[in-house]
């Protein structure tokens, strides 16, 4: 179940915008009419005759691109319990600033979302505060302890969209196997943080030349890839559906490909920071480069980019993980894992994947929302009769990350200070304006035109 706050809608007439949406078969200039929260008309640019402009807000789409709203299946909203890092209001506003109209929140909150009581509270808060759609995952195991299954069936009935112990693996093979079996009652995907704890052993970064030079314990690639291989085998045996979160190591791609070739139902996501950065960024011990899984080597990064291009990666997911300034103002080994990424996700991927590696723009747009389907939800589509979940992007604009601060409550962005190309200028969620860049002029036709005296 996706929930959002009830917010006033704006009727929009977006003129002469270049629309890209593979699912709708769109790739060209269009005019779009949005009324009462829905896309009511789409026509080739210049062919939409609107007789009654009164009450419509006009958006000049010239030079801009229109995409279906993005969907992120991996976000930490920190509610309940950690409102000093992020709230549903600030987290969804941050997502809207990145063009997202739907996100999925992780359950490793305080308390964790492993019971209907806690889930009900989170849904309630989202119904009041969320400026875009939010779905909540619930824990696979009670207390994320990895030992006892949560009440998955009841949690599904209340509205959980998937199950995950994100932040931790389900390390015990038998517990994981039982989760795969129990999944049949819910038909919901298990989203997996794959890290064999006996191999990762408290490592604060990737194991390699950089960790050797810094004397910091590293997590080897095989900590991720061996657990993926194990879980794929168990899921295959039990006929379960699994989704690998934030895949980072080249060996993990081999594990996923092998499992798929055997017919195992396995999908995976990649995060922008793993696609743009490597463990070289950790040399300065800047805690904004510390996340889990860690930044890997250039070889891994190139393998991950190739996997986006060849379709091995099913969707882009940010793993947006806000932390307060004080929490990150610690020595590298002491600081918590995690970086923010909602506001930079599209721009980072566009700059790296489209401009540098030749990914088709339409494919990136598809990947930015493909996470919805993976958790059993329909991605937004630019089509008449569909909810108006869309975003407008200026693909020419370059900006420096963090230059104007962040919409998120936290500032621990891995791309801070980096120059990126493309900026989201308008995000509309179910017809309500969730984000509007100050550069965008929204002319309301109902306002009287200033007259010359």
């Amino acid at each position: 179940m996706i929930v959002r706050a009830e917010r006033p809608t704006t009727d929009l007439f977006i003129r002469d915008v270049y629309a890209v949406d593979v699912r709708a078969g769109l790739d060209g200039p269009v005019d779009v009419l949005v009324t009462n929260g829905e896309i009511t008309r789409i026509a080739p640019a210049g062919q939409l005759d609107i007789e009654e402009l009164d009450g419509l807000t006009l958006v000049n789409g010239e030079g801009l691109h229109l995409f279906p709203g993005f969907f992120d299946p991996h976000v930490h909203l920190r509610i309940p319990g950690q409102g000093y890092k992020e709230t549903i209001a600030t987290g969804t506003a941050s997502a809207a600033a990145g063009g997202f109209t739907g996100i999925v929140a992780m359950p490793n909150t305080n308390p964790v979302i492993d019971s209907t009581a806690v889930l009900a509270g989170a849904l309630e808060t989202a119904r009041k505060e969320a400026v875009i759609g939010v779905g909540f995952t619930a824990c696979i195991t009670k207390g994320m302890s990895g030992s006892e299954l949560s009440e998955m069936a009841a949690l599904k009935d209340l509205g959980a969209v998937a199950f995950t112990d994100d932040g931790k693996p389900v390390a015990d093979a038998q517990v994981f196997r039982m989760a795969c079996r129990y999944q049949r009652l819910t038909d919901m995907v298990l989203m997996l943080h794959e890290e064999e704890p006996s191999l990762s052993g408290g490592g604060a970064m990737n194991e390699g030349a950089v960790s050797a030079a810094l004397g910091i314990s590293g997590q080897p690639n095989i900590a991720e890839s061996t657990l993926i291989a194990r879980d794929a085998a168990i899921a295959g045996y039990e006929g379960a559906r699994v989704h690998v979160q934030h895949l980072s190591a080249r060996e993990s791609l081999d594990a996923v490909r092998t499992a798929r070739s055997q017919g195992i139902q396995i999908t995976c996501e990649a995060s922008p920071h793993h696609l743009l950065l490597t463990d070289e960024a950790c040399r300065t011990l800047d805690t904004h480069t510390k996340m889990n899984p860690p930044l890997r080597t250039e070889t891994d990064r190139q393998a991950l980019i190739a996997a986006v291009l060849d379709g091995t990666i099913d969707c882009i997911a940010t793993d947006h993980a806000p932390h307060s300034r004080d929490e990150k103002a610690l020595p590298f080994e002491q600081a918590p894992f995690g970086v923010t990424g909602l506001e930079t996700s599209f721009a980072a991927c566009y700059t790296e994947l489209v401009l540098k590696h030749g990914l088709e723009l339409s494919r990136l747009v598809e990947l930015m929302a493909a996470g919805a389907a993976l958790v059993g939800l329909e991605p937004p589509v630019l089509a008449e009769g569909r909810p108006a979940d869309l975003c407008l992007v200026d693909l020419q604009r370059t900006w420096t990350v963090g230059e104007g601060g962040y919409v998120s409550k936290s500032a621990n962005c891995a791309f801070d200070g980096m120059e990126l190309q493309s900026k989201v200028v308008l995000t509309v969620s179910h017809g309500s304006i969730a984000h509007a860049d100050p550069s965008l002029s929204l002319d309301s036709t109902s306002d009287p035109e200033p007259t010359n005296a």
Partner: protein, 313 residues
């Protein structure tokens, strides 16, 4: 030099400057009055988040011989678990306007972080398993005393637990920087993946140790080794890697950062043999740390009143 945090940040010229300065301070320790007024009126704080007697007293002795005032802050482990505590501790210390803070902490990068919160010069006395730059400087100083100023092309073997050793990381760096050929040797479980990226050779086999001009032995923190699954037994370690007379030739220089586990990484006989220069290293520690403190506080640093070196020499 604004800080002395890592050998990775130092140029060869800076290393030479410190070692030349250290050489000029050598006579002071042998005088009846072991003190010069070079840093009179300066305040040096030591902030140690880890137990240490040797390094700390070496720094305090160095500061005292330069007539600086020293104050020690021993931070208990529990008070620094939270970030605010580290930051607040440093802000509190910074309020006393120290000229330098000597810091040791169990986490890599702690000295770098502290520079954000104080104007004092920061000296790294060991951060996690990353660096221990003054140890590397004093080790190079000692090697030059033994083998002459030009070590270009000489061979140094570093033997033992490289994985957990900040001493090894700084030493490899300073030796590579000054043209020395470095080989690290130890059991595979105690040699990190990719340590060769620092510019050293890696071997698990002691048979080539006769090539070494200097055999540098690392301390084995043996209480952790078997429990962590890193070594099957101390006996097996000693049988393969212990530095003893069966493995050494008399002309090789043997070094150790201390404290030594006699009979574990090094035999007692070698410790007591003149070819082991461990006490020379301790002695060098004071003059090298004097040199570091002097360069940071009275050297070329902007805004600091410079003290003529003649006063010290």
């Amino acid at each position: 030099m604004k800080h002395c945090i890592s050998i990775a940040d130092m140029t060869r010229d800076e290393v030479e400057l410190v070692l030349e300065r250290a050489a000029s301070f050598q006579g002071i320790s042998d005088r009846e009055i072991k003190k010069v007024p070079a840093l009179r009126g300066r305040t040096i704080l030591t902030l140690f988040y880890e137990a240490s007697t040797r390094t700390r007293s070496s720094f305090e002795l160095a500061a005292t011989r330069l007539s600086a005032d020293t104050v020690s802050f021993a931070a208990s482990g529990s008070s620094v678990e939270k970030g605010e505590s580290l930051k607040d501790t440093v802000l509190t210390l910074a309020a006393h306007s120290p000229d330098a803070i000597v810091v040791r902490a169990p986490w890599a990068g702690t000295p770098d972080l502290i520079t954000q919160w104080t104007d004092a010069a920061i000296v790294n006395a060991g951060d996690g398993k990353r660096e221990h730059p003054t140890q590397a400087l004093l080790d190079l100083f000692t090697m030059r005393q033994q083998l002459g100023a030009d070590l270009e092309g000489r061979s140094v073997w570093i033997v033992g637990d490289v994985a957990h050793s900040r001493v090894a990381r700084s030493l490899i760096r300073i030796l590579v920087l000054t043209g020395v050929h470095v080989t690290v040797c130890g059991p595979p479980t105690l040699i990190p993946h990719d340590i060769g990226a620092l510019g050293c050779d890696v071997t698990f086999d002691m048979s080539g140790i006769a090539d070494a001009d200097v055999v540098y032995t690392l301390r084995l923190q043996h209480e952790r080794m078997t429990a962590a699954g890193l070594l099957p037994s101390l006996g097996e370690y000693a049988a393969r890697y212990q530095i003893n007379h069966a493995r050494l030739s008399p002309n090789q220089v043997v070094m150790h950062p201390g404290p030594v586990n006699r009979g574990v990484e090094m035999s007692g006989e070698v410790v007591d043999d003149p070819q082991a220069v461990i006490t020379m290293q301790v002695k060098a520690g004071v003059v090298v740390r004097m040199a570091v403190l002097y360069e940071l506080l009275a050297g070329a640093r902007a805004g600091s009143p410079s003290t003529p070196i003649e006063m010290a020499a």
